[in-house]
Subunit: 502 residues, 2 copies
């Protein structure tokens, strides 16, 4: 009877195990991943690893993204991914596996805790303890680039409301569940009033739902400067993709130990956990690599799947190991008592499971139910009342002055759409341009109904057909149109920026 009960309880425990897709990766990947899994097993992590192959082997066998269909199936099924570092072979035609996984699986949040471990790791900033929450899917990283003229190349920066809402909400949820006190938003909304302006507007909207978390905003230039000089001022930072890319590298480097830093890529359905360092093929197979980055990523994973207690046990044992001077070769220094192998380090952490660090502050993770498979879903808003007000038509022309171009356009256009302004790289050059303004061969010509120039209360609505007609006229006259951008209002609010100097 007792035996049966024991069996039942074991069975229950078995049922509770969370299936986790694991990739050993390339280079030092297999050794650090095995060390990590050994520690997790000894700590009582209730996980069931399912192994997939990714990386070099797959690239070289003809999968240009470094991953095969059955591996995708495993990720879809398990929705949690512990990933060793991979090697992307040199040469064109091999795509970044991380970018592919992030974008196709919608991993919208890149979460990177950066912590200094002085005096065990030398740093000028011993009090650095920051989490960067970086938007991971949009911004300039949408990869939409066009060459539009002999001289001008363009990349689209896209910022979406769902993208902003998801990342900002994630940052506040993270702050709350991890006992963080403040979320700082960094944007450049003094220049990019619409795109970065949206990000900050959403930040303000969502902040009111978290009255227990302090908030602040920095313009990215001075914010990055403060981060580089006074990192102790910051707690959680939430920011668009490009700024986050820069800030998270700055913060990680400032800790003095990029090798210890973990990161998480979180999606609505799937999450991926990894070290931020690479596969270090030069020291692969020697058993000397430091497994700490991946181990701390596994700690993030345990919190994510609702095993906060195990996460804290592992993290505290790791801190105790570090402060007792049991170090892998990369951390060898004055504070080292014993330099150990990868496996030796794992054994040392296992031997300390259940202990709290004495010099570092022990870590606590808030016990919370396992994250739902689908969380933080974006709720699409009611559509705004959108009114078409005109069009920006971009021309590739090298032989005109602004005045000549304007004359030609004015002579050609007879319909509702009138030429209101010409800019070159954003600066108004007609009407009333400055002769000193340098002009490329890339002209933006704004067409709106005559009375809409000043964007009065009742601008005149335009029809798509008017724009098609205008394009017809211009192209038939031999003008080299290479792109258009429609001008709208949304619920009466202007949906386009004025020209510089307008």
């Amino acid at each position: 009877m007792q035996a049966k009960q024991h069996l039942n309880s074991e069975a229950t425990e078995q049922c509770e195990k969370v299936a986790v897709t694991v990739a050993l990766g390339d280079g030092i990947g297999p050794e650090i991943t095995r060390a990590t899994l050994d520690i997790l097993a000894a700590a009582g992590a209730r996980i069931a690893p399912e192994y997939i192959d990714i990386g070099e082997k797959l690239y070289l066998s003809g999968h240009s993204s470094g991953i095969a269909p059955d591996a995708w199936e495993s990720l879809r099924r398990n929705k949690v991914f512990l990933k060793g570092p991979v090697t992307t072979p040199a040469g064109d035609g091999y795509k970044s596996l991380n970018v592919t996984i992030r974008k196709t699986l919608g991993l919208y949040a890149n979460v990177r805790p950066c912590v200094s471990y002085a005096p065990f790791v030398a740093t000028l900033h011993p009090k650095l303890d920051i989490v960067i929450v970086r938007e991971n899917e949009e911004d300039l990283y949408a990869g939409i680039e066009h060459r539009q003229s002999d001289e001008v190349f363009q990349c689209l920066k896209l910022i979406s409301r769902p993208g902003c809402e998801k990342i900002v909400r994630y940052a506040f949820d993270y702050a709350r569940s991890h006992g963080r006190k403040k979320v700082t938003c960094m944007v450049k909304d003094n220049i990019m009033k619409m795109t970065d302006g949206l990000f900050y507007k959403v930040f303000q909207e969502i902040a009111v739902e978290y009255p227990d978390i302090a908030t602040e905003r920095y313009i990215i230039d001075i914010g990055a400067a403060r981060l580089a000089t006074q990192p102790q001022r910051f707690d959680v930072i939430v920011t668009p993709n490009l700024y986050g890319d820069i800030l998270s590298d700055i913060a990680a480097e400032m800790t003095g130990s990029v090798g210890l830093a973990p990161s998480a890529n979180i999606g609505e359905q799937i999450a991926m956990f990894e070290a931020i360092h690479g596969s270090a093929p030069d020291i692969a197979g020697q058993g000397v690599a430091n497994p700490s980055g991946l181990l701390l990523a596994a700690v993030m994973m345990l919190v994510h799947i609702g095993q906060a207690e195990v996460a804290a046990r592992v993290h505290n044992a790791w801190l105790a190991t570090l402060e007792e001077g049991i170090h892998t070769a990369d951390l060898q220094g004055e504070q080292s008592q014993q330099v150990v192998s990868t496996a030796g380090f794992a054994e040392a952490v296992i031997a300390r499971l259940g202990r709290l660090p004495q010099r570092f502050t022990p870590v606590q993770y808030q016990s919370q139910p396992r994250q739902p498979a689908v969380k933080n879903l974006y709720k699409r808003a009611t559509p705004a009342h959108k009114v078409l007000l005109g069009v920006d038509i971009f021309l590739h022309e090298r032989n005109f002055t602004p005045e000549q171009l304007a004359s030609r356009l004015l002579a050609l256009t007879k319909g509702i759409l009138h030429l209101q302004m010409i800019t070159n790289r954003g600066v108004k050059v007609w009407p009333e341009g400055f002769p000193e303004t340098f002009c490329t061969d890339h002209w933006r010509c704004r067409f709106m109904p005559a009375q809409s120039t000043q964007f009065t209360q009742l601008p005149q609505e335009v029809k798509q057909q008017d724009i098609v007609q205008l394009l017809q006229t211009l192209t038939q006259a031999g003008l080299d149109v290479m792109k258009t951008e429609n001008l709208y209002s949304f619920n009466g609010e202007r949906g386009f920026a004025l020209g510089q100097g307008q």
Copy 2:
């Protein structure tokens, strides 16, 4: 006879004086500008100041850019501008004077030397001595933003060949004429292969003309991280506008003394010199402000107008003053021997004219002819052979799956242009999308002739008329087109990026 000769020589000297437009500015502007001009006069600078009013007074008298027509005339006439800090009044409708001046006068280079003055200014980075050369006109700062759907906002990043050539050439010229050894290029060309790729390509092209200058390239994220941790690795850094904005604030802040930093804004015809600090209205009129930022800007101006010897005399006297502990209140510290007023500081510098610093390395500026009024003019290249290959049409649609949208487009389009791909925020969602990809209401639909899909050697040329016809068809069918981007090849090279996952 002797008297007459003396008169003649004086007259010659008089003739050599360079007319310089000077604005005292707002707040502490007048006191620091007067202190600066006193030092220049005592040092024998051959300049003739012509004063203009800009800033607060002008803003409030109805000039929305803070500058009046006669001031523009002075700038155009003299082409050299020493500018005190200005106050932009709070409230909408007042435009940044600096942005207006930069963009309308084509000041394409923002040059910011950042130097640590340890132990007189506390810093974690005593060996920092860097010049950031930031592109100043284009990139995301063209201010071209559009809201395109309920959910998506867009900002255009424009990078032009003339913009890149001018800034890169300026950086190498600056390095050579200032005895600098290395120019580092920072870009994100692993992601933005076309725009940032152009910047780096131009950097490589121009670098070969300067075999005496070492070069290196960093991806901006790791570059910024290295700057923040090991600034002594860098010498001159050249970079596009946004990155330069961030890097120059980081470097200035790391010196510990934003108040000492000068900057120059250089155009083909006109150049502007100023401190990077603001007008500090809280301490205005008290005679306690530190004039060093503007004074060092004036030193840059003297080098620019070919008065290198005077520039070095002023700079070395300033260094001697600093190291003797004669400090304004902002620098008061352990190393201060005497705390002086703004005027007292100017007197101390004047008293040391002709002396070299003992602890700091004396400054030398290479004697060179006065910069020509128009220099570094961009030579427009021969046009490439441009072939129109298709079009990206962007739709605002909220009620379709990618498959449904593709079906509808396939059913509608009968001409030469066939639907090849649909992406959402850059990620391919048709054909063969992933169900996990999050889709906004903003769809990019790529149309090319059927046989051009793989961009074979001989893609089929499209006519503008084909695109107009396609737009006609789509809009008549009620599809909500909100922008287009034409697809070209230039001299046979693809002028557009593939979709992510394509």
